[in-house]
Symmetry: C2
């Protein structure tokens, strides 16, 4: 693991690190905010998964999360959204290939060699950060934005014992029934749609649910609202009697101006769950 940078931030440290990842078979970069409390012992962790076109950097610089995390004594991890490098397959479209890993393990050419973001987020990166930093693996929570909200919700429901709570900002909710999803799941996983369903938050809520608190915020003026299919998740959660707070926030769009507006409440929401573990 290589340290790219470390900056003092809200009394803690905002670091950027790179490492060679087995899952994605390439070097990966991530951001990690450690609150001051980490000097004295392992702290709880909030994973933040980013959306289409993002690297590890966008949320780290634009979401305004570190101040609230410092207040709560919680670490933040900002992974990248896809494998990187000259020998990694890509596509001209913004929503496929680099910056668009969709948090799945690709099985199809030309993606299968590197696009294994599911394993990266759920195995490689946890192994690395819990070995190298003062983080408490027994107290983890997860959130994300857009494609990252999709990742947070689907990963949380597959690892219910790992995450105390899950939230999402304007998540892609029903990718098996959206142009934000069908294209990518088809490319990465192939045409057999049965392989897509484990990566659809609305279907997962209906089938498995999540045994902990769930918070979803989406703007009423989200320019990608038709692609998110929030209504599918809303219906599934209410029908299952899933513990949830779902908010359609008036006037907000899909941007980080929206994410940052509600970051304090999301960090507080996760802190409540993390400190009652």
């Amino acid at each position: 693991m290589e340290t790219i940078s470390e900056n003092t931030c809200f009394g803690g440290t905002q670091g950027v690190y790179s490492h060679s990842a087995k899952s994605t078979n390439c070097d990966m970069t991530f951001g990690l905010f450690l609150p001051d409390e980490a000097k004295y012992g392992p702290v709880p962790v909030l994973w933040y998964l980013s959306g289409l076109t993002c690297t590890h950097e966008n949320a780290m610089t634009k979401a305004g999360a570190q101040g609230w995390a410092a207040e709560q004594g919680i670490a933040l991890i900002f992974p990248d959204t896809s494998p990187r490098g000259d020998n990694v397959a890509d596509d001209e479209a913004y929503d496929l290939g680099k910056g668009a890993g969709f948090y799945v393990n690709a099985t199809e050419a030309p993606w299968a060699d590197h696009y294994r973001m599911w394993d990266y987020i759920t195995e490689d990166l946890p192994n690395l950060v819990f070995e190298n930093f003062a983080l408490d693996p027994e107290r983890q929570a997860i959130t994300g934005h857009s494609m990252g909200g999709h990742g947070a919700l689907t990963i949380a429901m597959h690892f219910p014992d790992r995450f105390a709570s899950v939230s999402a900002f304007s998540p892609i909710c029903n990718p098996t029934d959206s142009d934000w999803g069908r294209k990518q799941l088809g490319a990465y996983l192939g045409s057999d749609e049965a392989k897509w369903t484990p990566h659809d938050a609305s279907l997962l809520v209906r089938e498995k649910g999540f045994d902990g608190p769930m918070l979803i915020d989406t703007g009423t003026d989200d320019q990608f609202g038709d692609l998110l299919k929030t209504e599918a998740l809303a219906h599934a959660a209410a029908a299952r009697r899933q513990q949830i707070t779902l908010r359609m926030q008036p006037g907000y769009d899909h941007s980080y101006f929206f994410v940052s507006s509600f970051m304090e409440e999301h960090v507080s929401f996760h802190a409540d769950a993390l400190y009652s573990v």
Copy 2:
């Protein structure tokens, strides 16, 4: 209008009054909490519509609302849920007839003579209370529980200029598709289902929406969850991009123990809207 009782309560007055109502063609009883501020001028009003089997009294004694309303300087009105009296038609079932007016104007025998709760709540009672008490008609909000949540949501969407905000505790959300609804709408309005749709909150959200904040709380352990059809409202609101906070509250049931647990947040929610009018 006759004063049945007045008790000092949280520095204000909890009154119970009766009056002869033109709409329901019988004497009606209602509760009214006036905060101390009403001594000095008209105060904002929060309507609370009760559920099946209730009179004006249940919420007045069990919802724990007066303390929070006093803190916010807001009046509370607790209407009855049906016409009353020996010559008013009734049914042996708890969910039809007295205590089960469903906030509609009945057109069918034997109900049409008295069961005009829509007009009572939207015309008669407002005329009476704004004439007789220090209440500000320009600052009204509405909430309710179960059948009363259905009433609050449907009335708010039909009178969007009247209500700054709407909320509901475990509301009946989709009565045209539920045994809590089809039976009563059929009895009161007849078999032409086109006449039912103006009284279905999920259909109204889809068609009209509400131009203000909406807050819904329902328990994940609500014993009547299958009758409420919260999922229909959740889907409709998200699909329309209706401003909403919808919460499935873990472990709570349909009782006033649930209602009272979240009353503070509902009163605060309405106060935010009422004081920004």
